[in-house]
């Protein structure tokens, strides 16, 4: 089979799954889960086949698969076309691979949910949108996928729509994302305005060729970066992601850890010629990324809700990725994207398994001692925690360390923030692990009687993901370990070389010129391992040896209260943005609309009524009247014609 057939097929499969589950779910019932899962598994299979057919290690030019011409109006020509290259193949493997496992897991997790078929329809639609996003050959199709995942996240976060909290969280995600999308749209418009094209290859070519576009590049970069901030939940648009935990837990794993939130990272990677040629923007990305990483980690320290901890950890890890992307270390960022997809999906599904076993108990204070009853969940969760904390040889260690190394070369301040974040990460992850699985059980007695390991359909994905979280780090290994491995760097080279070439033409000095020596590398690795270990050690002292149980968030005081209140960002937005807008709306509704607009509209209605009161007298309903009118009318018209001489 050809790639040109495989790619559209693997994109279409989840769409078929969505249509089948969505339209016929009523009759198919439980079968929808299996069907929806199967289509994603097949997509993954096809993605694997296309991966090997593409020969990514040898090939340097992307393959464009045009399905059909889509928009052709005026000067704009947009095709529904897919760009198959190392970057998009990498992304679709993550999306369909991890997506398929999450689908499988959901069959068990959502078994008793009345919205079972609806859930799987949304999930399939999400995969479809995400595939379009990463495979798009142009900005318009990318934007379609971008909005598609936004819509699906709204639908899935607000899945339990009868609960106010879930419905509101869905809206919050959607609206916050829209703010970012404004930047995105401005970026697309600017690119089209200056280059007359929206396809990625044409944009890259326009950078050296169109001087006016080169001049506007920093602005374009900033616009796209705002879009990325919204999607990837960075400061100051991070507020939606923690609230998004109102959705079912596998949704959190899929959307808010493994796929959708990485769209921002992907966008920067895809538009690397723009970002490389506008280094000022890269600097801002590094600043926002590292501050976000630090900020979110501090909030994660005192959260008592198992999913909230993970949510802030996601925001924090995405910050790391942005640091790498901003510093021009794209491979490091994408490396962390993949390892994070594995271990964060694993952690979310693990927490889902705990929540499932405890009948929707999410408070860490009511857990403890679960390792006896839930062995598989415990071991896999531990692997996930070790990976995210950066303990060798688990995957997170290699990817996070690569980012730290790059940030060290970029600026020691950012390295400092990164390393402190790493310390906090290790601490809160193990705080969570210890509180949930170790020590004495604090589970309420009636819940404890039903305590059980999750069914196989849920534990199998956990095991597979934990294997991924454990070993994928070996794709890129620093020099001092078996002479270094750079599979990913070589793999991605063709994608980023073009951008580097272009940027060298323009800014003379490329962004990613930093190489670290082997000794320095060894020191940096030593530091991060020591940091991670000490984080775990502190958590162990407090929560295992000290047997401390965190107090309720309401009883926190001082700095702790600020942290558990998430720095009052939500309250700030509420007071300074939402309230004034609501007040303005109220004013417009009560005064402007009632006294001005309504009067005008009602006046129009009254005039029409008055005219019709007169006109309706013509309609007597008597046939003879009409006949006379017709005859005399005809006579008059004919005589006029005769008089005028036809």
């Amino acid at each position: 089979m050809e790639i040109s057939v495989l790619i559209p097929t693997l994109v279409a499969l989840p769409l078929i799954g969505f249509l089948v589950s969505g339209l016929f779910g009523k009759w198919l019932k439980g079968f929808t889960g299996i069907f929806s899962t199967a289509v994603v598994f097949i997509s993954f299979g096809l993605a694997l086949v296309s991966f090997f057919l593409f020969h990514p290690m040898e090939r340097s030019i992307p393959e464009i698969v045009t399905v059909f011409p889509w928009i052709e109006a005026g000067g704009i020509k947009v095709s529904l076309a897919y760009q198959v290259d190392q970057l998009s193949l990498y992304m679709i493997l993550i999306i369909t691979g991890i997506g398929a496992l999450i689908h499988l897991y959901s069959i068990g997790y959502m078994k008793e949910d009345p919205g079972f078929t609806r859930y799987f329809a949304y999930l399939n639609l999400f995969i479809f949108s995400m595939l379009n996003l990463v495979l798009a050959e142009n900005l318009i199709l990318l934007f379609l996928g971008w909005e598609g995942v936004g819509l699906c996240s709204y639908l899935l976060i607000g899945f339990d729509y009868h609960k106010d909290s879930a419905a509101n969280a869905g809206m919050k995600a959607f609206i916050t994302n829209r703010i970012g999308d404004l930047g995105m749209l401005l970026g697309i418009s600017l690119v089209y305005w200056y280059t007359g094209s929206v396809s990625f290859t044409a944009i890259a070519e326009a950078i050296p060729e169109v001087p006016s576009f080169r001049y506007i590049l920093p602005l374009v970069g900033i616009c796209f970066f705002i879009g990325a901030i919204g999607k990837s939940a960075q400061l100051p648009l991070h507020v939606w992601l923690p609230d998004a935990m109102a959705g079912p837990t596998p949704v959190s794993a899929l959307i808010h850890a493994a796929t959708m939130v990485t769209a921002g990272i992907f966008l920067i990677a895809r538009l690397n010629p723009i970002f490389l040629s506008a280094p000022q923007v890269g600097h801002w990305i590094v600043i926002i990324g590292s501050v976000t990483a630090f900020f979110a980690a501090t909030v994660g320290l005192f959260q008592n809700d198992i999913k909230k901890v993970l949510a802030y950890s996601t925001v924090s890890q995405l910050g790391y990725m942005f640091v790498a992307m901003g510093a021009g270390a794209y491979v490091a960022g994408l490396f962390h994207l993949m390892t994070h997809a594995f271990f964060k999906a694993l952690l979310f599904l693990g927490s889902g398994s705990v929540i499932h076993a405890l009948h929707h108990e999410q408070d860490l204070r009511n857990m403890g001692g679960l390792k006896k009853q839930m062995k598989i969940t415990w071991i896999t969760f531990l692997i996930g925690s070790l990976a995210i904390s950066g303990i060798p040889p688990f995957s997170g260690f290699f990817s996070k360390d690569l980012i730290l190394e790059k940030s060290y070369a970029y600026g020691t301040l950012f390295y400092g923030l990164g390393i402190v974040t790493a310390l906090m990460t290790a601490f809160y992850m193990f705080r969570m692990t210890y509180l949930a699985f170790y020590g004495e059980s604090r589970v309420s007695s009636h819940k404890a009687t039903h305590l059980h390991e999750s069914p196989l359909v849920m534990t199998i994905p956990l095991v597979i993901l934990s294997i991924g979280a454990a070993i994928t780090g070996f794709l890129e290994v620093p020099h001092f370990l078996f002479g270094g491995v750079d599979v990913l760097s070589r793999y991605f080279a063709p994608v980023f070389l073009r951008g580097i070439e272009i940027s060298q033409m323009i800014v003379k000095q490329p962004l990613d010129a930093h190489e670290t020596g082997a000794t320095l590398e060894l020191i940096l690795v030593g530091v991060s391992v020591a940091i991670a270990l000490s984080g775990i050690f502190i958590a162990r002292m407090i929560f295992v040896s000290g047997k401390n149980v965190p107090d309720a968030e309401e009883s926190h005081t001082g700095a702790k209260r600020i942290l558990s209140k998430k720095y009052y960002v939500d309250e700030f937005y509420h007071g300074f943005i939402i309230e004034p807008i609501v007040l303005l709306g109220k004013f417009l509704a009560d005064h402007v609309e009632k006294n001005f607009l309504d009067l005008m509209l009602r006046g129009t209605g009254r005039v029409a009524v008055a005219i019709s009161l007169v006109l309706r007298r013509v309609q007597t309903g008597i046939v003879v009247d009409y006949a006379i009118l017709i005859v005399f009318g005809t006579v008059i018209i004919l005589s006029l014609f005769l008089l005028r001489g036809l």
Binding site: Q619, T620, G621, I622, V624, A627
Partner: protein
């Protein structure tokens, strides 16, 4: 210049058509019974047919006669439907006088 058909001038035919047409229009306007109105309409249509046939003959062109066939076919169907409606209304309102059929009035 005037045209002739079998020794009779065309004007005679046209005058006959005009008289029947006028009778028809007058009938439509003054009669109250729907059935009689229908008959008057038939008069109107037939007067028109007569004009068509006359000119067709006088000008040696077949077009007018073709139109007459159409008019006849449509007049027949119109009468069939119209009478069915009249009967249906008569069953409900017990009258066929058109000025009493004013249900659609404001």
């Amino acid at each position: 210049m005037s045209l002739w058909i079998s020794g009779i001038p065309v004007e005679y035919f046209l005058i006959l058509a005009m008289i029947t047409f006028t009778i028809g229009v007058a009938g439509v306007l003054v009669r109250r019974s729907a059935v009689l109105i229908f008959m008057s309409i038939e008069l109107i249509l037939n007067s028109v047919n007569l004009v068509f046939v006359t000119f067709s003959k006088a000008l040696h062109q077949v077009d007018g006669e073709v139109v007459v066939f159409f008019v006849m076919a449509i007049a027949a169907s119109e009468a069939a439907i119209g009478l069915a409606i009249v009967i249906a209304i008569h069953r409900i309102k017990k009258t066929s006088f058109v000025d009493e059929m004013n249900l659609m009035k404001w």
